[in-house]
């Protein structure tokens, strides 16, 4: 499998990345070489092998249900470009 320049533009758009012509070309060749490697991995017989969700052979530790966080809105909002009445303000999005 190999990608086209249009695929790169599409993925970049989904990731909100603006790529120049040159960046698109270099990304295309890098991603295609990764896909070539994956193509050769396809030769491995994986029948009967369960998909691996995580490379560590550990299971998740859980937390008990209790409120441990306190309100730190003022501190967190110091880096926000625009706030009002406790809300973060962003350019209008309409559904």
């Amino acid at each position: 499998m190999s990608l086209s320049g249009a695929d790169i533009q599409c993925v970049a758009k989904l990731a909100r990345l603006r790529l120049t012509e040159a960046e698109t070309t270099s990304t295309l060749s890098q991603l295609n070489s990764i896909l070539t490697m994956i193509d050769s991995m396809q030769a491995v017989i994986t029948e009967g092998v369960a998909p691996l969700a995580h490379p560590l052979e550990l299971t998740q530790v859980l937390r008990i249900d209790e409120v441990t966080e306190e309100n730190a809105r003022e501190a967190y909002q110091m880096t926000a470009p625009a706030i009002k009445d406790g809300l973060y303000l962003v350019p209008r999005v309409v559904e």
């Binding site: 995580h54 859980l62 966080e69 973060y88 209008r92 559904e95």
Partner: protein
Amino acid sequence: MYESVIGLEVHVQLSTLSKIFSGSSTSFGASPNTQASLIDLGMPGVLPTPNAKVFEMAVKFGLAIEAKIGKTSVFDRKNYFYPDLPKGYQITQLDAPIVGLGHVNITLEDGTTKRINITRAHLEEDAGKSLHNSFDRLTGIDLNRAGTPLLEIVSEPELRSAKEAVAYLRVIHSIIRYLDISDGNMAEGSMRCDCNVSIRPQGSKILGTRTEIKNVNSFRFVEKAINSEINRQIDSIEDGQQIIQETRLYDPDKNETRPMRSKEEANDYRYFPDPDLLPVVLSDAFITSCRNSLPELPESRKARYMEAYGISQYDAGVLVADRDVADYFAEIAETSGDGKLSANWVMGNVLADLNQTGRSISEFPVEANDIASLIIRIKDKTLNSKTAKTVFEALLSGEGSVDSIIKERGLVQVTDTGALRSVVDTVIENNPHQVTNYRVAAPDKQGKMLGFFVGQVMKISQGKANPQMVNQILLDKLSG
């Protein structure tokens, strides 16, 4: 003729104290962004830690719908950009959900039962809220809701009408309330419903193109939204148009659905396993302890009430839908010793009041014990149906106990034959014309005409006369 094919995706907010991946509070209505921690804000360098309680709640739901429980549960990232999703992805479950195939039974209008399969239920985090209307050309973002645990319950497309969809939704609501895993409050968004709707010619096996109506927030709107969408699809097809697969919103004011502005390539979510989270493995002992803590569920309670209190399937279904109402009814039935009369009073008066006022049974001002006393006074003939209603109204306005209301208002039913006879005599004397008419009328007309005399007697006795006795005395006197 067309047949509609409907599947529901129900999002239920789990009633934990803290969020699914952080220790922030989940309480409703707090000042904006005061319950959004660094994890909820999607700051770099933080790690999510799952809340044990959400697994217990999800497993209980799975057991309640007799589903296969996913002992190994994996979390995935669903990637999309929206300002109320600060990480740029939602943590959800794709291939290894916690609850697999299960089912519930719904009761159709004709009283028959239909089994609806549930494809899966998975855990995920809620997004924040976008407030579009308060600011000029800006949107306000409140992330208090971000990270609130959700259980998304996905049905098979086996519902065939808007009514069936609502019946299914009510069953899900009833189960989550019995399990006490969510408050199920649709108005506050604790339970939200997406409806997938398509139509096809009756008898066809091929599915038509479906549309999805997002975020419908009441039982009534679910029914109306689905019906309006079915009608829209039929009209389009009859006009020779194609149905486009799209997401639509329901506008209750206009009673119509309209397309959401399509987000380009929005369906390419590029799911992948979340590297921040390890698989969650549930032990058999944990699942067994969840099973042992399951309460009695609505369906088995319904069967028990029919048996124990001699009430109909329909009545039992109405009474057990809400666990608190079911408990309230059972207390009345046990104390009064009359299941049928208790069912009539709870459905006809108590539930009628709750529907009218919008309050819940826990906010209802009359104790179960008082309704039971009222029923005991009906059974011992102290009250008739009319005076019982008066006592009920007095109980509602907090005028004291049943017996003190009966005493203060002088509502004891008149069962003294001598007193009733004299009232009947007065009525007959005062209405000679009606008496003559009654006596010459055909026997099948007389029954209806008797009502006039009963009414007059009740009026003079201020509703306190025993109606059965009045009937008997009237029949005797009028025939003579």
